[in-house]
């Protein structure tokens, strides 16, 4: 019986990237989009499947420390490895049609897989060094992917903005890491935790933590590091928008969850340096409000989704904000709820962006008006989109309902009813703009010359699969919720 290494999902993703490069080296000039997409999909599915298998087998019940503590495998890392890998699966399947006919197809898939590797490593990072390295591993391919359409001004502009803000943010983050190192003398999360209590350089440490949080805020598109997000999501190829707004965000949260709960125990840190719960509460409020309010008046569906993605980051931030010292059960609940939301969000948001990809494929247009009456031409995809929109808005057509309300409930339970109330206001507003999409595709009449070219198999498969997953998650939510809460338990149990 062969023992698989605990990092198998990450390794699979990385290996697949290398295989893709290899294929390109062996056969550089042939058309092989299908082959590459298949290989990518097999790799990501395998990674997701192993993550699930490990979780089911109980591998996540303990912390498998790898490389002297630089990486760790536990339920959290497996959970997010699954999220990243499943989103990547949908994205590569959807990309098959989307990038058909583009150049550098194999680089595209490899970069997606490399970024996925980085994201899944983020969830496993247990040292600030690996945090940074994994984060950059996720970021650098993303920059390139966003500007993948080299002749498209929007894509290039998006890449530029994403890159510049990203570079600035990672500089801030590295500086923050250096300050943490300056005050604690170590970069291993567990060791930092030991040094934090009663630290004499509280101010410097606090500054470091704040800046470190900035790095995570960039990855999760939270205020004030969110500025890249609307443009990057709008300009990027739609599958990449899906990938970034779902997987990258989830990974950012994964690493934030681990770093803040492991390295900076709230009571100790709050005593000497900074009450990061308050910090995240403030960020959550500002982020969700800005995201939702800005989304409300957008004209383009994709940009609306971009802002809504910022809004959702705000909701998930509540999971960090509502953590309290010494309330293990409540913490596990709310953090677990955040994680479930990220998972469900992975499917519904990816699905939504892939629907946008589908519409871009049809070349219908980008504004709400352009979407008018799509349901008369493509009812199946539109049902799926409706599921995504209503699920994102928190209506019980998909798992988003449960995860969002569990998150709200967890926040309330932690005593942050005011935070949940603000989230509720935002959620109501979000219903308004999500239903604008639904209104456009179902209620408005199509323009006379609306006709759709073809039925792209890959995109359809991905969209429908995402929709099915979203709906199934409403009914079969139990395993997800249990796993997430369990992962949070393991995280707190160190």
């Amino acid at each position: 019986m062969v023992e698989l290494p605990p990092l198998t999902p990450q390794i699979l993703l990385g290996l697949t990237a290398i295989v893709l490069f290899g294929i390109d080296i062996i056969a550089p000039d042939t058309r092989k989009n299908g082959l590459l997409a298949s290989v990518s999909a097999i790799g990501t599915v395998a990674a997701a499947a192993t993550a699930v298998w490990f979780l089911a087998a109980g591998s996540g019940d303990y912390r498998f420390v790898q490389f002297d503590g630089a990486l760790v495998v536990d339920a959290l890392s497996l959970f997010f490895a699954f999220v990243v890998a499943s989103v990547a699966t949908l994205v590569v399947i959807g990309s098959y049609d989307y990038i058909e006919g583009e150049e550098h197809v194999s680089e595209y898939y490899s970069l997606v897989l490399l970024a996925a590797t980085g994201m899944s490593l983020m969830a496993a990072a247990n040292s600030l060094v690996t945090v940074f390295v994994a984060l950059e591993l996720a970021s650098l391919p993303s920059y390139a992917l966003v500007s993948f359409l080299k002749t498209d001004r929007g894509s290039v502009e998006a890449g530029l903005k994403y890159f510049l803000i990203g570079a600035l943010s990672s500089a801030v983050m590295v500086y923050g890491i250096s300050l943490v190192y300056a005050t604690t003398g170590t970069l291993l999360l567990d060791d930092i935790a030991a040094e934090v209590a009663g630290n004499q350089f509280g101010g410097v440490l606090g500054l470091g933590i704040l800046m470190l949080a900035g790095g995570f805020a960039f990855k999760t598109a939270s205020v004030p590091f969110h500025f890249w997000a609307p443009e990057a999501y709008e300009g990027a190829p739609a599958p990449i928008s899906a990938f970034l707004s779902s997987a990258s965000k989830a990974a950012g949260f994964a690493v934030a969850f681990r770093v803040f709960t492991t390295a900076f125990p709230l009571d100790a840190v709050a005593a000497v340096a900074i009450d990061w719960s308050l910090l995240f509460a403030v960020l959550a409020v500002v982020t969700m409000t800005l995201g939702n309010f800005a989304a409300a008046t957008q004209n383009e569906v994709k940009r609306m989704l971009a802002y809504s993605s910022i809004g959702h980051a705000g909701y998930v931030l509540m999971g960090l904000a509502a953590l309290q010292s010494g309330a293990a059960e409540a913490n596990a609940f709310v953090l677990g709820a955040s994680m479930t939301h990220l998972l469900v969000y992975g499917f519904m948001n990816t699905g939504a962006f892939l629907f946008v990809a589908l519409v871009e494929y049809w070349d219908v247009g980008r504004t709400f008006e352009d979407y008018n009456g799509l349901a008369t031409r493509a009812p199946v995809a539109c049902v799926a989109m409706t599921v995504f929109m209503f699920s994102l808005a928190g209506l019980p057509v998909g798992g988003g309902f449960l995860s969002k309300y569990l998150l709200f409930a967890g926040t309330v339970q932690a005593g942050f009813a005011w935070l949940a109330a603000i989230a509720a206001i935002n959620s109501a507003l979000s219903l308004y703009y999500y239903s604008r999409v639904v209104k456009a595709i179902w209620i408005e009449d199509p323009s006379d010359d609306l006709s759709l070219a073809g039925t792209p198999t890959g995109l359809y498969t991905a969209v429908v699969a995402a929709a099915v997953a979203t709906v199934v998650l409403l009914v079969a939510f139990d395993p997800v919720a249990q796993t997430a809460v369990h992962a949070a338990d393991v995280l707190f149990a160190l």
Partner: protein
């Protein structure tokens, strides 16, 4: 004569702020990149100084990682600047404003 470690903090802070100032004032994408490099290196100052202060190698090793990643970042960045130039005929970051609001 050992310089007190706090002064390295001040130095790094000064370099960091210089970098930030550059980021905020420069419009040329390359200058922007260089400013970011400054900020990264200010972190390196800290890492190396405190590595010495604590007597462990962690900081120094990490500073190597940072340099390597900075190089990778610049590589990607230059690629993006290149396509920026191709599409917008300039490397002024203020030109690319087709998407807003």
């Amino acid at each position: 004569m050992a310089v007190a470690v706090e002064y390295y903090l001040l130095l790094s802070a000064a370099v960091f702020c210089t970098g930030v100032f550059g980021v905020l004032t420069r419009e040329n994408a390359l200058m922007f990149l260089i400013s970011v490099e400054l900020m990264l290196n200010s972190a390196n100052i800290n890492l190396v100084a405190f590595s010495h202060f604590y007597g462990n190698a962690t900081g120094q090793v990490f500073s190597l990682f940072v340099m390597a990643l900075a190089a990778a970042e610049v590589a990607v960045g230059l690629g993006i600047v290149l396509v920026l130039y191709r599409n917008f005929d300039e490397v002024d970051v203020r030109n690319a404003t087709t998407m807003r609001w």
